[in-house]
């Protein structure tokens, strides 16, 4: 097999480096990546279309299941869209509880990411330790909302469950424990030589390129771009909560590690402020079932970046059109740019560096023939016939 020619390797749908299936076909020259071709569409579930067939209350639970790790931000966006069209103002206690859940979700998502990044570079001990600490957060979430993932806490007009005083005490104890652990991870991440050699100088994304390709979230903040929706366009109760936005300017994977680990401290600060200043009152107000005609846009800062939802309603109790643009979709062109010129051994850590959540991002991909730009879209019946014909041609029954 000739070595000096370029080789195409599929970091394919099934690969231990990817937690969710997408196809990155990389062209290699020795050990350096020269070109990359991204193909998506392996986990498309058609949620946007499904939402048009269910009423607004049923859609609350469908929107949650767009993603497993950032599920609460999708619910908050949806509910904020509907409340904007209905012109509802939710009580302040509900806002604070929503913010509490948003921050708890960001906490467990960042701990998960540190573990997954450790696993990609072969550091399984860090993976096990961070996921063990993540269990503390999951226990808190289960205690308040009744479920570890897909909490179903939001409803149109507020939240569904309340936080009692005993639960508040448990949250504060957990925050003390997690702050100590975050301190330990900060020391390990910044001072461990093998992590440094694997992540410094890897996956460079210069600030002008990041702005041109519309990178969001910690990926952009590691390149020095100071953008955070929580501070720029406050929602829930972020306007009343003081916190800092963390940026570094190293532009590489190490910067992303540092941004996420330092954000852990900010989260602890925010949650302590929320729990100390929780206002009393109702947790929800009654909302009508039919939504008048109108449209609304809402965006929030998911753990991965900016998450944008658009709703168009038409006066009935089912939405007319709902569109979701998730942060991983915005970061994909940056991945294609970062992979060029990298080593093969760095491909998993670069892809994992943007914290990919392919389930959120997926779309339908139409492959066209190169020569005559024609394509074919098969529905279920034609797909069955095509499959049977293919097997018969091969001689199998």
């Amino acid at each position: 097999m000739p070595l000096t020619n370029k080789v195409k390797i599929p970091i394919g749908p099934q690969h231990p480096a990817l937690k969710e299936p997408e196809n990155f076909t990389i062209t290699l020259d020795g050990e350096t990546v020269v070109d990359v071709d991204i193909r998506i569409g392996y986990v498309h579930r058609g949620i946007e279309k499904l939402m048009e067939t269910r009423n607004y209350i049923q859609n609350l639970y469908l929107v949650e299941r767009i993603c497993g790790i950032c599920s609460y931000t999708h619910t908050v966006n949806y509910v904020q869209n509907v409340e904007e069209i209905l012109n509802l103002k939710i009580p302040p206690r509900a806002e604070y509880i929503r913010t509490l859940f948003l921050e708890l979700e960001r906490l467990h998502s960042h701990l998960l990411w540190v573990g997954v990044a450790g696993h990609e570079i072969g550091f399984d001990t860090l993976f096990m330790y961070t996921w063990q600490d993540r269990e503390v957060v999951q226990d808190l979430l289960e205690m308040i909302s009744g479920n570890r993932v897909n909490y179903a806490m939001n409803t149109i007009g507020g939240v569904r469950r309340d936080v009692s005083d005993e639960q508040r005490k448990k949250i504060m104890e957990a925050m003390d424990y997690l702050e100590k652990r975050a301190q330990y991870y900060k020391e390990v991440a910044v001072n461990e030589k093998t992590i440094l050699v694997r992540s410094e100088g890897v996956g460079i994304l210069k600030p002008q390129v990041a702005l041109k390709l519309a990178a969001v979230g910690p990926t952009a903040r590691a390149s020095g771009i100071n953008v955070d929706i929580r501070r720029d366009d406050p929602y829930a109760s972020y306007a009343k909560t003081p916190f800092d936005v963390i940026t570094t300017d190293t532009c590489d994977v190490f910067g992303r590690v540092v941004v996420r680990v330092l954000e852990l401290f900010e989260i602890v600060k925010i949650i302590r402020h929320l729990m100390n200043n929780l206002p009393s009152g109702d947790i929800k107000i009654k909302a009508p079932r039919k939504v008048p005609e109108g449209e609304a846009i809402s965006h929030t800062e998911a753990p991965r970046g900016e998450d944008l939802h658009y709703l168009h309603s038409n006066g009935t109790d089912k939405p007319d059109r709902y569109k979701v643009r998730t942060p991983t979709m915005a970061n994909m062109p940056s991945v294609a740019e970062m992979l060029k010129g990298a080593y093969l051994a760095d491909v998993p850590i670069i892809i994992a560096g943007i914290d990919p959540c392919m389930g959120c991002m997926d779309r339908v991909l139409v492959l066209k023939d190169e020569k005559d730009d024609s394509g074919q879209i098969l529905d279920m019946e034609n797909l069955r016939r095509y499959g049977i014909k293919w097997y018969e041609e091969k001689g199998w029954k």
């Binding site: 209350i57 179903a152 409803t155 569904r160």
Partner: protein, 113 residues
């Protein structure tokens, strides 16, 4: 110069300690009181308004006429345990318990009437 192996001191302490794995089913963690498990249906409070079936996101709650009365039947194969039926019911005829060990062998085996 930084040498690798920063985690070594902490690692030593863990070698002889008990692991954190919970050996299910010999040991079980106790579920918190708010856990959304299987639902319990009080037939005497139901007024057959069908709002629960209208609001169920997955179609687990369907209305059937049994013994002359229109009442909901819950199929646990479809249920997402979201508690919306309990919230929508105007007469509090549905409540969620904390029973979570609901595995069964065939479709259609787990029905709550």
């Amino acid at each position: 110069m930084k040498t690798p192996g920063k985690m070594l001191p902490k690692i030593f302490g863990f070698i002889f300690r008990k692991p954190v794995t919970v050996l299910y089913p010999k040991e079980r963690l106790s579920p918190p009181p708010g856990l959304r498990g299987k639902m319990k249906f009080h037939l005497d409070r139901c007024i057959s308004c069908s709002l629960c079936a209208h609001d169920c996101p997955s179609g687990a709650c369907t209305m059937h006429t049994i013994d002359g009365k229109l009442r909901p039947v819950f199929d646990l194969d479809f249920c997402t345990f979201c508690e919306q039926c309990a919230e929508t019911c105007p007469k509090d005829a549905i409540e969620m318990t904390t029973e979570y060990e609901l595995a069964h062998y065939k479709r259609g085996e787990a029905i709550v009437k």
